[in-house]
């Protein structure tokens, strides 16, 4: 049973990353109509920024949790201003191709300087150790990742669904021209949205650094799983992304316990099943 709970926890952690990443993808897709293939590479950059902060500037985990998403978010906004914005009005596919190219560039550069092996990033002192819950040993850092990710996801949901800023955002998604006529700077909002989505990816990167080490290709496979998550959940609903992300992480964890050979593929198999039963994805709207 210990092993089952441990895998369940690993599943929840992966689910946190899936949720943060698919949430960012959904937010970006809503505003920019672009599937951000560079999301995995930017997730990796988040982890690397945290690594640099610690090893070059001696800035620890807690400030990195705020600084890294901002740095990567600004980098993302520069990408949006200089490149992505020129794709407005073109076929969706060009956005996918451009961001795929960006992912190749970013990952290639990091691989050149850091190879393919993992760099260690230690757990902050405050979160070291664990507690024995009676039925399992719970490492504090892992519990922290799950809880913190959940809080960030819910805050993002609140920001988009319940605030005035979010209302403007949703309105601009539906009809940018009309929203512009109301005097709202839609292009700036698009840039900030991209920054927000990318920042969420970077945050997931920082959170994962102490668990999965810091590797140039850490995001390359994750992004494909997240695509499958997005196909399963649909990008129509923020809450849908969050729930699907966590749920699929847990299912993956359970598979690791009951049938480890399929743990790599279970999310993709589920995607196939969902497409056969409900092609529009679990949360509905057709694209």
């Amino acid at each position: 049973m210990q092993a089952l709970y441990a895998q369940l926890l690993v599943g929840l952690i992966n689910g946190s990353f899936y949720a943060l990443l698919s949430l960012g993808l959904a937010v970006i897709f809503g505003m920019l109509n672009i599937i951000n293939f560079a999301h995995g590479a930017l997730y990796m950059m988040g982890a690397f920024v945290a690594y640099f902060l610690l090893n070059l500037l001696n800035i620890g985990y807690w400030p990195a949790l705020i600084i890294a998403p901002i740095v990567v978010g600004i980098f993302g906004m520069i990408l949006e201003r200089t490149m992505l914005q020129w794709l407005a009005g073109l076929d969706h596919l060009y956005g996918l191709l451009l961001t795929f190219g960006l992912a190749l560039i970013i990952q290639g550069v990091f691989q050149n300087f850091f190879g393919s092996s993992g760099l260690p990033y230690s757990i902050p002192d405050e979160l070291k150790g664990g507690t024995n819950l009676g039925f399992m040993y719970l490492p504090i850092y892992r519990a922290w990742v799950v809880v913190f990710s959940l809080v960030v996801c819910l805050l993002t949901w609140f920001l988009i669904e319940r605030t005035r800023l979010g209302a403007n955002l949703r309105a601009a998604t539906e009809n940018p021209t009309l929203v512009r006529a109301f005097g709202i700077n839609v292009p700036r909002m698009i840039t900030l949205t991209y920054g927000l989505g990318v920042g969420l990816a970077a945050l997931a990167g920082v959170l994962s650094a102490p668990i999965n080490q810091v590797r140039p290709l850490m995001g390359a496979n994750v992004i494909i799983v997240v695509f499958a998550v997005v196909v399963i959940g649909g990008m129509g609903s923020i809450m849908g992304s969050i729930i699907t992300g966590f749920a699929l992480g847990v299912i993956e964890g359970l598979t690791k316990y009951f049938y480890p050979e399929a743990s790599n593929t279970v999310v993709f198999v589920l995607m196939v099943l969902v497409l056969l039963v409900k092609p529009t994805g679990l949360t509905g709207r057709a694209a």
């Binding site: 795929f100 992912a103 290639g108 790599n264």
Partner: protein
């Protein structure tokens, strides 16, 4: 699907005439390669990728469907052909047939799932399916995991053509490439191809005209997958191995890049693109991971400034369809 097709030139008898002339030039150029002293291995490899890119282009250029998982057909065709040749002792022609048939079956299965969604979702689904297949091939014993299937016998095609002779192999590869190319050429100039283009331009209208668009897309997907599998089976004779790199996401990206550089939706663009990208990989292979960076840069530059691709730009300049 509107932007990709601006300035698209209607297929008229004259346009087909232009394409026929271009086809003749291409065939002659490729036929004299062994006389020129160009390294034949490079050209053979490029031809396999050219066939692959043409098959991919059939979907994106004429059906408006971006498959980001075409490596799964390349890899499946390759693995099955390699296994049939090496373990089952099939003669070359049956090995190629086995690999191609396996890709066709895969096309039926994956196409059934993938065509349920359009546009961007289609791309993500095909990508996820190919990743699923990657993990399957990584774990099943017959592919030999990281090592791949190596030392594949080339054998005698139809019992008398010695494929270990580079010149003979070259002309066999060329013949298979031309066969695949003509199948695609015939398809896009057929009534079926016209309906496919109509779906790309405006799917709801095609539906309202009574076309069962899902069936057309399904058939196009299977055809494209089958021909990509043929390219994979053919590549086994050139490279004499079948490995996981052919099933990886990077390979799917490379296929997209070849077609994009040459020109999406042009008849000859994928061929030109394949030669450029394979050549680039060959000459830059000493640069290690910088090749990835350069490929990414080509992607970005093409999407931002050069969306018609090389052949697309030439065709646009000449006001011809190529």
């Amino acid at each position: 699907m509107t932007v990709m097709t601006d300035d698209s030139i209607p297929v008229t008898p004259r346009a087909i005439h232009d394409e026929m002339i271009a086809f003749a030039i291409m065939t002659v150029l490729l036929a004299i390669v062994p006389l020129t002293g160009i390294y034949p291995f490079f050209v053979m490899q490029a031809l396999c990728f050219a066939l692959l890119a043409c098959a991919f282009n059939l979907l994106i250029g004429y059906g408006g469907l971006l498959s980001f998982g075409h490596a799964m057909f390349l890899g499946t065709g390759g693995y099955v052909a390699a296994h049939a040749l090496k373990v089952w002792g099939f003669p070359p022609e049956l090995g190629i047939l086995a690999g191609t048939a396996a890709a066709a079956v895969l096309g039926i299965i994956t196409g059934f799932v993938a065509i349920r969604r359009q546009g961007i979702y289609f791309a993500m689904i095909t990508l996820a399916l190919s990743q699923l297949l990657y993990f399957i091939y990584l774990q099943t014993p017959f592919t030999h995991g990281e090592d791949g299937i190596q030392g594949i016998p080339q054998g005698y095609l139809f019992g008398f053509l010695n494929l270990s002779n580079a010149t003979i192999l070259y002309y066999v590869v060329l013949a298979v490439f031309l066969f695949g190319f003509l199948v695609i050429f015939r398809t896009i100039n057929s009534p079926f191809g016209e309906v496919l283009k109509a779906i790309r331009e405006n799917e709801p209208r095609a539906i309202s005209l009574g076309y069962k668009t899902d069936q057309y897309k399904f058939i196009a997907f299977i055809l494209s997958g089958t021909l990509a599998g043929l390219a994979g089976a053919l590549k086994v004779f050139v490279a004499q191995n079948a490995s996981l790199t052919d099933v990886e996401v990077d390979m799917s990206g490379l296929i997209v890049l070849m077609t994009l550089v040459g020109g999406l939706g042009t008849v000859f663009g994928p061929v030109v693109g394949a030669f450029i990208i394979v050549g680039m990989q060959q000459y830059l292979s000493g640069l290690g991971q910088w090749v990835t960076v350069i490929q990414g840069t080509v992607f970005v530059v093409c999407v931002l400034t050069f969306r018609r691709g090389i052949i697309g730009e030439i065709a646009h300049y000449l006001r011809r369809s190529l």
